[in-house]
Symmetry: C2
C-alpha cells in the first residue's frame, strides 16, 4: 500500500478554515479527517475515537512530555492535540489525512512532519487588507503597520506554506483545495508509480 500524505489547512482566525474543509470533504469522500485527543469531558453525543480521543489531563501531559503529539495546544482550560502514532497509522494505510489548525499548530506540524502539504487560507478581508496596504499612499508605513499589526503578524507565516487560497467564496476555495489534493496525489513521490519508477531506475543502473 502506497503511503498517504497529510494536508494541513491553516491561516489566520476568521479565514474560514473549518467551513472550507467541511465543504471539501463533502466533495471528496476519500479524505480522512484527523481525530484529535482532548482532555475536555465527553458529551453524550460523542464517541471516543470518532469525535475525539478522550484523555485525562494526566495522560495528556504524559504524552506531551513523551513527544507523542504532532501538535497540541490549550483552549479554554482544556488541552487538545493530534496523536502522532494515529496519524502515522492513517498514512501507512494509504489515507490522505486532512486537518484544519491554527498557525501555531501548523508550525508544530512543520517541525515534526515537514513533508506534509501546507495550505494557507487567506480571509475574505484580505482583498480589503491588500487595498489598504497597496492603495492608500496617504498612509505612512507606520500608520498601516499599527492598524494592521496583528493581521500582518499572522499573515507573514503564509510565505513558508506550499499553497495559498484566498477564501472569497467557500465553494471556490473548496474546489481549489480539492485540486491541490488531486495534484498532490499525482506528485511523483506520492504516486503509486513511484516505487515502480524507482525500481526501473535501479534496474537500469545495474
Amino acid at each position: 500500500m502506497k503511503r498517504g500524505f497529510l494536508v494541513i489547512l491553516s491561516g489566520p482566525s476568521g479565514a474560514g478554515k473549518n467551513t472550507v474543509l467541511d465543504a471539501t470533504m463533502d466533495r471528496c469522500s476519500d479524505l480522512q479527517y484527523s481525530v484529535s485527543a482532548t482532555t475536555r469531558p465527553r458529551r453524550k453525543s460523542e464517541q471516543d475515537g470518532v469525535d475525539y480521543f478522550f484523555l485525562t489531563e494526566e495522560e495528556f501531559q504524559r504524552r506531551v512530555r513523551a513527544g507523542e503529539f504532532l501538535e497540541w495546544a490549550e483552549f479554554c482550560g482544556h488541552s487538545y492535540g493530534t496523536p502522532l502514532a494515529y496519524i502515522e497509522e492513517c498514512l501507512e494505510q494509504g489515507h490522505v489525512v486532512v486537518m484544519d489548525i491554527d498557525i501555531e499548530g501548523a508550525r508544530q506540524v512543520k517541525d515534526k512532519m515537514p513533508e506534509a502539504v501546507f495550505v494557507f487560507l487567506l480571509p475574505p478581508t484580505m482583498a480589503e487588507l491588500e487595498n489598504r496596504l497597496r492603495g492608500r499612499s496617504t498612509d505612512s508605513d507606520e500608520a498601516i503597520r499599527q492598524r494592521l499589526g496583528k493581521a500582518l503578524e499572522e499573515l507573514k507565516a503564509g510565505i513558508d506554506y506550499d499553497y495559498v487560497i484566498l477564501n472569497d467564496k467557500i465553494a471556490k476555495s473548496a474546489a481549489k483545495l480539492e485540486a491541490i489534493i488531486t495534484a498532490e496525489r499525482c506528485r511523483v513521490k506520492h504516486s503509486e508509480y513511484f516505487e515502480l519508477l524507482e525500481d526501473i531506475v535501479g534496474r537500469n543502473r545495474e
Copy 2:
C-alpha cells in the same frame, strides 16, 4: 502582473501527450499553447506566429548557436524548436504556458528553465508493463529487461518529474492535468499574493 509559469507534459511515445493536452485545453480556455518555430514549409492553411514561427534553415541554425531555443530537435529532415524569448514574453504577461514534448525535449527545458512544472504521462500499457515487471516471477530480471529495454529506458526519466499521470482514460487524465494547473496557480510562489506576503514579511522584519 504576476508572472505565469510553464507546464511541460512529456512521457514515452504512445503515452497520448497530444490528446491529453488537447482535452485539457478544451476544459481550460485560459491556457496558452506554446507556438514552435520550424524550418518546414508553411502549408496554405497555416499562419506564421499562430501555427508555427516559420524560419529558414539558416536563421534556425543561427538561433540554435545563439542559444535562443528553450529546446529544439530534428524530425523527418526539418528542425523544430521553442523560442525562449517568446516563452519569456508569455510568462511575463502572466500566462500559464503549456507544451507537450518528448522526453529529450523536456530534458532540455529542465536545463534552461528548471522552475517549470514537469508532468510525466505514462502510457495506458503501463499497467501491463507493471504486471510484467512485478507479477511474472517465472521471468528472470534479464529476460524482462531485454524485452522491455527501450520502454524502461524511457520511463526512467519520470522519477525526476514533479507529477505523474497514468493515461488510462483521456478525460480522467485531462481532469488530473487541470487539477495540477489549478494547484500550481495556488502555489505560494506562483500566487498573486506572493509579493504581498513577501511585502508583509519585509515590513515585519524592519
